[in-house]
């Protein structure tokens, strides 16, 4: 019986084609197989995402509540220091809602970029030993960041509704998905690129922290676009709008910061954000191709 099992296995295998392992793929032709391989392991992607989320708060008494404490404390600090002491809240109505909208989206971006950057090195044990589409690791970092953002967003929406400041539903229809998607594609693209770079040069993860800190202040989270436009010349303002996160944050604020409806916004904000989203998609394509080339040597460099 065991022999027949062996024979039937050999018989089945003889009909299977030989498939080349670790085949080098072309720049254009490699995209589809790469993403298809990731799609083939979507169950694993989900499990890894869940692992990230669960492991982060396992064994802590407050558990997931901790993911709220950080942004809420940040909110409090900025509200007091910048809103009250520096007086930003005088020109920005409903300052707390304004900040929290920006903070939530910015948190999604930083979570995505910084956890993705260390994701490949952090999973060295698996990468060195088992063959997988390695894109799964930065993508699971994106997944867990998205999960956190979900919670933040629910809090934001509840805060908007409960404090009576409301939500601009019509704008929310395009602004919320567009802002989130723009943040996601840029975060994923940068995260994927940096994750691969970090394998070869560990300085990258520290560089990322610094870069994100700078990015925070280049995005209208604790100050408004009006202040930038007022202080800087048109050239600088234009440059400022080249930051995709500025566009995404302002788009989200259109929807959740109803009190700021009368405040000036850049002309053609939806279109500009859409442009940033499209550029992000292009970047994501490039980042994946770079990642794919780099990952061939991950196992020996890590």
């Amino acid at each position: 019986m065991s022999n027949s099992a062996a024979e039937s296995r050999a018989e089945r295998l003889s009909h299977e084609p030989l498939r080349e392992v670790a085949v080098a793929r072309g720049f254009w032709s490699g995209t589809l197989p790469s993403w298809r391989a990731v799609w083939g392991r979507r169950e694993l992607l989900l499990l890894l995402t869940r692992r990230e989320v669960r492991a982060r708060y396992k064994d802590s008494a407050l558990g997931l509540t901790w993911s709220l404490v950080r942004p809420l404390v940040q909110l409090l600090i900025y509200w007091v220091a910048i809103g009250r002491f520096l007086g930003a809240s005088r020109s920005i109505p409903e300052f707390h809602i304004f900040i929290y909208s920006g903070l939530a989206l910015w948190q999604l971006f930083t979570d995505t970029v910084s956890t993705a950057t260390t994701s490949v090195v952090g999973n060295a044990g698996i990468i060195r030993k088992i063959h997988l589409p390695r894109e799964i690791f930065p993508l699971s970092a994106v997944g867990s960041a998205l999960f956190n953002f979900g919670i933040q967003f629910v809090i934001l929406a509840l805060a908007c509704l409960l404090t009576g400041s409301g939500i601009n539903w019509v704008t929310a229809l395009w602004a919320v998905p567009l802002a989130t998607l723009t943040t996601l594609v840029w975060g994923t693209a940068l995260g994927m690129f940096l994750a691969a770079a970090n394998v070869y040069m560990r300085d990258v993860q520290h560089l990322v922290e610094v870069g994100l800190m700078v990015g925070f202040w280049l995005t209208p989270i604790v100050y408004s676009w009006q202040m930038v436009a007022g202080a800087a010349g048109p050239r600088i303002a234009e440059l400022y709008l080249a930051n995709p996160m500025s566009l995404a944050v302002m788009s989200l604020q259109r929807a959740t910061w109803v009190a700021g409806a009368g405040q000036p916004v850049p002309a053609q904000l939806p279109l500009l954000t859409l442009g940033a989203f499209a550029a992000g998609l292009g970047l994501l394509f490039l980042a994946q191709r770079w990642f794919d080339r780099m990952q061939r040597n991950f196992a020996q460099e890590i």
């Binding site: 022999n3 299977e16 392992v21 670790a22 694993l44 692992r51 030993k129 063959h131």
Partner: protein
């Protein structure tokens, strides 16, 4: 036979990078130093493995055997050549890679199974088997950081062997857990073999390779130098190891000894011919073994010793003796001195044996050996 693994003219080089940070590499470039050295781990290697075969990869450290295994597994990409496989492949390379200490055993089983390529429904189906095989059902719902290291690898092994592969790659992991569990592991491997699965095993344990494999490949410095049944391949490896060990010991002993001597010739039973370093001597049980030789002492050496050790080709000691144990008073050796040792009526099992002869000074330091 269907070949399930085909490695064609594969070359793999590693860049041994000396720096890992931006600062260091900037300095290195500024000083005009090369940032890396190239090292060839595999040099134009071609092998084929058929369905149902069990093949051992053996060789000294750094010979490229693990690299070859990783290339087959797709973990590394070759610099030149092609690697192709047929069927589902699973790698038992490091147990518990991907186990997360904060998750429970149950969660880790699902995660690990998924990493190894099982779908969720398949894992559901095998889950009870996996827990049963691991032998730790009572702990499955506690976090794995509270497991003992033995329990940890047992669970990891249990997951790995339930992946249902056509090709199983194994790297030095069969010797895990306590003895009953090891027996269970070997049983599982045998079952895999009966089911016609292909096994590729990297191991330093000659006994394990001999027990599991139908064929062994000896790798040395990135090349396959022997491709033969385990007994022959391991014999070759053993000889190469023996030379290396002897050379190392010889060097250190010579430094420690004031005496110099050379084994001019060694012969086994009179009339036995020697071909390519191997004696064409066949003994029946009960025959005598006579080891004779000539030693040339460069300086007078008091209380010199001759030691004779008989080993199997796998390196197991069969028997041995020396003039010290035999209480032979050798006196002072000077110039050309013959010796003769007789082992009367031997009772050794069927097989190939290796005879090592050493000349030592009074303190037991090696002067020469064959």
């Amino acid at each position: 036979m269907v070949d399930v693994i085909r490695v064609e003219h594969v070359t793999k080089r590693f860049a041994l990078r000396k720096v890992k940070s931006l600062k260091e590499s900037v300095f290195a470039v500024a000083r005009g130093q090369a940032n890396s050295e190239r090292f060839t781990a595999l040099d134009d290697v071609s092998i084929e493995i058929a369905a149902g075969e069990s093949v051992g990869l053996v060789g000294p450290n750094g010979s490229g055997k693990s690299t070859l295994l990783k290339l087959i597994g797709g973990i590394l990409a070759p610099d030149a050549g092609r690697v192709s496989v047929r069927g589902r492949l699973a790698a038992l390379l490091e147990l518990g890679a991907g186990f997360h200490p904060d998750l429970t055993g149950r969660e880790n089983v699902y995660l690990n199974a998924s990493i190894l390529g099982l779908s969720r429904s398949e894992t559901d189906r095998y889950f009870d088997d996996i827990v049963d095989f691991s032998g730790i059902p009572e702990r499955i719902d506690s976090q794995v950081k509270f497991y003992s290291s033995g329990q940890y690898v047992r669970l990891a092994f249990a997951v790995a062997v339930h992946v249902d592969p056509d090709i199983l790659l194994v790297d030095e992991v069969l010797a895990v857990g306590d003895e009953p569990f090891q027996v269970k592991c070997m049983e599982k491997i045998r079952q895999f073999q009966r089911e016609g699965r292909t096994i590729v095993l990297v191991s330093h344990s000659a006994g394990q390779v001999a027990a599991v494999c139908d064929r062994a490949l000896v790798l040395e410095r990135g090349q396959v130098v022997e491709n033969a049944p385990p007994r022959i391949a391991l014999g070759r490896l053993r000889r190469d190891y023996g030379d290396a060990i002897e050379a190392a010991r010889h060097r250190s002993d010579l430094e420690g000894s004031a005496y110099r001597a050379k084994l001019v010739s060694v012969t086994l039973n009179p009339g036995t011919e020697r071909r390519k370093g191997e004696f064409d001597l066949v003994l029946d049980p009960g025959d005598d073994l006579v080891v004779a030789g000539v030693i040339d002492f460069e300086v007078p050496t008091p209380d010199w010793q001759v030691s004779i050790i008989v080993e199997t080709t796998l390196g197991g000691l069969v028997f041995g003796t020396d003039t010290d144990i035999m209480r032979v008073d050798t006196g002072i050796g000077n110039g050309v001195t013959p010796f003769r040792v007789v082992f009367p009526s031997l009772q050794a099992g069927l097989g190939d044996y290796v005879v090592n002869v050493h000349v030592r000074d009074a303190e037991g330091l090696d002067l020469d050996s064959v």
